[in-house]
Symmetry: C2
Subunit: 246 residues, 2 copies
């Protein structure tokens, strides 16, 4: 059974993540959300606020994957260059988008916020883009081709993701089974490899961790085929001497 799930990449944009000053909170959220709706997150990149770096990453990822989700760099300051970089990546003109202005001006007016030139940068949208609603602070994200451009502030990004998931083609969710092996990875590596070889439609991951006392291993089996998943799980439990209780 071939894996027919749509693929995606995430592109996190911002010097503050690369310097360590801000700890990323968006990758995990994007990963969880895509897994929930059956989209395979295949790659994540974090790049600096450098136009060339953003352009190159957008081009590479949008060619390779079904969807690209970006986060960061769409605010009002000089280092917010994501919209211009995405426009350049696709050779599109960019300017103040009246639809965005029509959302922003009343929002600002209600809050006594001055609509200055810097703030109006947030209405710069590549031509032909569709807007992504921002119910937190109004300034919209946007979609160009297969690229969804979202804010970097987690609360805003998460609100935008609610809109993005509506557009992502839903796929059969990935099913998974987890086995806590209660032993070191080296003890379960050979049986895990054998079961993996026998069940190519199931992906078996082995994840060592320290449980506070010693190193132990969690085995995770993932598939879109429920029957194959059940069979592989039963075989692996048996092979490591942990058959499921009846």
């Amino acid at each position: 059974m071939p894996d027919a799930a749509p693929t995606a990449a995430a592109l996190i944009i911002g010097d503050e993540i690369l310097s360590g000053r801000t700890k990323d909170k968006n990758i995990g959220f994007i990963a969880d959300t895509l897994t929930d709706i059956g989209v395979d997150l295949m790659e994540v990149r974090i790049v600096a606020d450098i136009e060339e770096a953003i352009v190159e990453a957008v081009q590479a990822l949008s060619e390779r994957y079904d969807f690209v989700l970006t986060s960061g760099g769409i605010g009002p300051t000089h280092d917010d260059i994501t919209a211009d970089a995405v426009a350049r990546a696709f050779g599109l003109p960019i300017g103040i988008d009246q639809r965005a202005v029509d959302v922003l001006l009343p929002y600002w007016a209600n809050r006594g916020i001055e609509p200055n030139e810097a703030r109006l940068r947030m209405a710069r949208i590549p031509q032909g883009a569709t807007l992504i609603e921002n119910r937190v602070s109004a300034a919209p994200g946007f979609r160009v081709k297969n690229v969804f451009v979202m804010a970097g502030v987690p609360a805003i990004m998460q609100a935008m993701m609610d809109e993005v998931v509506k557009e992502l083609r839903a796929a059969q969710p990935v099913l998974s089974e987890t086995i806590e092996a209660h032993r070191g990875e080296g003890d379960i590596a050979a049986p895990a490899a054998a079961v993996q070889a026998a069940h190519p439609e199931v992906r078996i991951g082995s994840y060592p961790y320290h449980d506070g006392t010693r190193f132990t291993t969690r085995l995770v089996l993932r598939s879109r085929d429920a029957a194959a998943l059940a069979a592989a799980t039963a075989e692996l439990r048996s092979a490591i001497g942990m058959p499921a209780t009846a």
Copy 2:
């Protein structure tokens, strides 16, 4: 004053991060550590346990940056393919490395751990690599050319980083000043852009966040030139009506 700091990229390898099941803890640690020693982290990639994806990322990043730090995929199981992928990326032979065996066998013997074939996979090291000591669980990381290959388990990765930083060329650390602007990004965008234009040797970042009550902005000025940093900070404080107290 040109930025002469060495550059680096981080490559995080593992399906578990991309599925969201494991939340990454290594990117922030690597970012903080590199910033502390004056190395500029320019890019991060997260890729799956797929050999082609790892090979391609290692090649791209090692060509582009002074150093590449990888994390993940060097354990004993079938999905631990980083060592083989790095060898392939550089066209190097790979096999059981006697130096690694000499570290692992006594470590295992002392703990009653059986040195089976799966565990011995952890001694597979590309030819010509130097080893990176692992004082947590013995199985070494390694360096090939400008690529440092480390474990994914945070405690082990952090121990290996202590060894890696010794090898990274120390550079003048980046100095920084932070201004809490106590107002929205749109209000400080124009003065920040003007000061940025006047001080190309200083990098000014503007980071909006929600302080629990409202959106506010932190301005961070970074430079390796202390005098330029002081001048730009004073100008920016003055421009936004927040001169430093005497």
